[in-house]
Amino acid sequence: MLAVSSEFGGGTSDSVSGALVPFLPCAEASVVYPLHHGLKPPISRVSISWARGSSLRISLFKSSSSESDADGEVGGKVLEVRLGGDGEMSDAQWRRIAYGSVSPFALLQSRKNSVAGFSKMQLSPSLYHLEWWEYVMEYSKDIDVLLGNSKPLTARVIGDQQEILKNREAPTSVKAAWELMEIFYADKLSKAWLPERLVDWLADYDSLLSSTQTTVHSKLVEFQSQLIKLQIIEDESTYWEVLASALAVGWLEIVVKLLRLHGSYHLDQIAKREIENGLVEAVAVLVSKMPRMRPEIEAGELGECFKAKPDFMKAWERWRAQVTKLDSSAFWVQCTHRLTRGGLRNMLQIMLGNLNVLCSATYHWIELYISHFLYIRPLTRGLENMYNLAQKCLQLKPTSCPDKLARLLIGILGENTEVVLAECSRGFGPWMVSHAIELLTAESNQAGILLHEERHSLGEISMEELHRLIYAQVLSSHVLTWQIAPIYLASCIKQGMGLLEILLNRQPIQDSKILLKNLEICRLYDLDSVSTNIMKIAGVYHWKHGRKGSGVFWLQQAHDERCLNRIAQQLFDYVGKSISGECFLQWEGLIELLGSESKHAGGLEFLHKYRDLKKSLQHFDHGKTVIAAQEAVESLMSLMKNPSTPQRFWLPLLYDSLKLLSWREQPLLNVSQTNLLLNKLQELSMARLRPDFVEADLPPQALNSVRLALATNLGRAILEEK
């Protein structure tokens, strides 16, 4: 087990293990949430039950002693509390992300398996495939698209003259967190340009840093709203403040656009304010020519892009020299507009990396941090340096309640996987943890070891598996997302199938569509015992709820011979009661379904034969042909000879066939057949004396009429055969 102190990055461990860390007392109470039930107290008892996934149902019973009260007939309530959701997004948004992340996740897992397969065969996977991180990057991009608008540039907009910030879909902190992890863990290409990647990240997500305190973004939004009312913009100190702030965090397009709103550009003023305008333009040009060390600059963005460090250094020195030159220019004296002069020179100080000026131009510590990369230490390398720089910025701009994104950033910079996971977990929920683990393990072996190590306290599973199980359980909580839980459970080697079995066994079976979708999952994951169980539940449910046909179908699918044999017994009983009635027609479909050769149908073979007899008797009734009559006799004889024909059906069968036995045209049964039937009749008469005999529901004279018909037939048959 990892100890807390050993996990902290170099140089900080002394402070962590020391008394500086104000741990709360260990036995502090957990959070107590009120359960609003709207009932009048007192509540006499509480009962609990877990519903889907991690939903908990709580029944509250009112004390029955309190007779008359405001609740009337209400004696209690059942409340459902769903654990493991996310407050930031609506249920529907959350489901969309859950659906969308299935394919990228599954693809990455299958690639992981095939790469593992290659390494087992001792082939170098890189010979056949892309580098692993490139797969992770593809995965990360797919997920990123899912999390929201893929073109969320805050500031780089030239449009309406008065519009500095473009209205757009509000960015989500989930997406911000995802991109942050992508930058640090997955995107190997960005390693050389980390500071610039962070500059871009802040441009997209500055608005999320704080909802209560000022940020550069909120300042800009506020200024934007006042813009229309302002007559002479350069007379406003906020104009210059906003300019400085935007410049400090590197939003060059906004800076230049704002500068061009300066009054000296007005046609009617340009002549009078030539020097002033020249200075404003000079600053604007310098801003737009700022050298940036990054692979590319998108169209419409300002700055000059350099890929190699020597080129950049040269350009940077040259640019700084130009800034210094402008700063010491003699024209400043001739600039009469005090605010312009001050504002522009302040901007030059920012470009020259004056820490005090940067400090006052920025609000959040991350903004100050970003300004360091732009103007003070553009070549910052290595996470340790970046971490120390972050600490410095935090000291300069201390914050009382660090935001979840800021905490995540510190965790990443501190190179502490456990903290990163914890921040993902508490800030963004189980979805984030289970998906971000792929990013965390993309490069780092250490993170891989931490996440893949099997822990006894967790029941011999790894943290990775644990978090997938938790996410799967959260998915199981919802009626529409439980079907994607198996994808994640399948990637849990040790306990995934166990949880999947429980999940499937707890799905309702009443709706046949849901049942079939459920069985399809069983088929995909070879869970035959589960599907048998589900089909049996469905079979019994339908059988007992008056849908005997579907009941038999599902019990047959489940190969439940015990139930089917019982059902065969029940069918006998039913048929025995009403064998002469026409309602047998209705049984046809069911008997059809049972299938003649199904061994599971047990004694139902009799029913098939009986059905055949009924049919041929009908034919005989219609046509009275010899062929039909002979067919009917064959059916009757095979029924009467068959040992599986229950004794109590003998008489009804014969009574049904009375017309055959007494057909006037010719005797249909030969002597031996008639004798056999007479013997059966005799047997029956004996059996009737026994106490357990079940009398068929027939007219009292039935036996006699059959006996008479048989006797007559015998006589005629003897004559015929002679």
């Binding site: 902290f8 402070s15 741990f23 957990s30 949430y33 009120p34 359960l35 609003h36 709207g38 009932l39 107290p41 509540i43 509480v46 609990i48 039950s49 991690s54 939903s55 908990l56 149902r57 709580i58 029944s59 029955s64 007939e73 209400v74 004696g75 309530k77 059942v78 409340l79 459902e80 769903r82 654990l83 959701g85 407050g87 935090l394 000291q395 905490r407 510190i410 965790g411 189980p430 006894h456 306290s457 029941g459 011999e460 599973i461 199980l469 529409l480 079995e501 429980i502 707890r506 799905q507 309702p508 709706d511 015992s529 539940i537 019994v540 059988w543 007992k544 015990r562 019982r566 059902i567």
Partner: protein, 358 residues
Amino acid sequence: MPSSAVSYQTLAETVRFFRQTWLAFHFRQLTTDMEKSVAVLDKGTTCSSWNYCGQRLATGSIDGTLSIFDSPDPASSSFTTTSKFKVHGAGIVKVVWVPPQYGDAVACIFADGSLSLWEEVAEDARVIQWKLCQSFASRAIKVLDAQFGVFRTSLKMVVAYSDGHVKVYELLDPLELKSWQLQAEFQNVIDSASTSRRASCFSASISWNPLRSESQEPSFVLGFNSDTPHLNSAKVWEFDQAHQRWLPVAELALPADKSDQVFAVAWAPNIGRPYELIAVATHKGITIWHLGLNPDLDGRLSVEKVALLSNFEGEAWQMEWDMSGMTLATTATDGMVRLWQSDLNGIWHEQAAFEPAP
């Protein structure tokens, strides 16, 4: 203190928080409408029980009325009464659903100590209705708890009585819930010599092992709240197929706690742990036990008490494990609902609590 301590504190706290709450509950909204009402119960309701898939609710009331609640659709989570009928003169104290393989049926335990089984069926007339399948009438000895377990093709019902006896019944006909056969009868003691004739038990709690594989033998855990010390402690009973008898294979109590009255027991689902997890509630608190999977030479299973959760007031009423067996939910006489989890170090903590509020 240097001002950067803010971040250090954040880091250290985060890790501590994470280690203790790795399941990290995130409530949908931590506002007043976090909870959703799914059903309103009638006056006089004393107990409730959800079926296997959480789609039907059965409630019992003080006047012996059983109510069944259904939702209009499997995807819906609002439940209203669809059947309501009087099943007995005495009040219902407990409702238990029969496993779904045997239909939609419940067992009701009444205040007078009798037990009856009711089933929803469509008779020939095709009107779906609840009918009585079997009644186990009481005399002097009361039924305290009854629980069902499904094993291979058979359904077993364990019934605990107020005289400290336990009876195991087996269903004979898979489609008829009326034909039960008594398979075994014994007392909840390890040593059969210590059976007592005059026990008087106030309550009992039974929990079946939610079996995963067909090869395992059926087993359950049982504890009593009685005036007879050696009956009380929770014991694990396993069916010995070879000799067709039930044997006690483990006792979930330390020597000093053996006579403690047991209020509730709960056997966790096992999705692949190399040990079983059982929670036992006594007046000292809730104890969590690891139970070994493989018996020793005497046929006993190894037990290890891994936690005593005692930082709450009152006696436990009910304990329920979630589907993965990672979270234990409990209720107690203080009216609070608590959620417990083990952290990464194997230490059990209370992770959240819910307090009913008007």
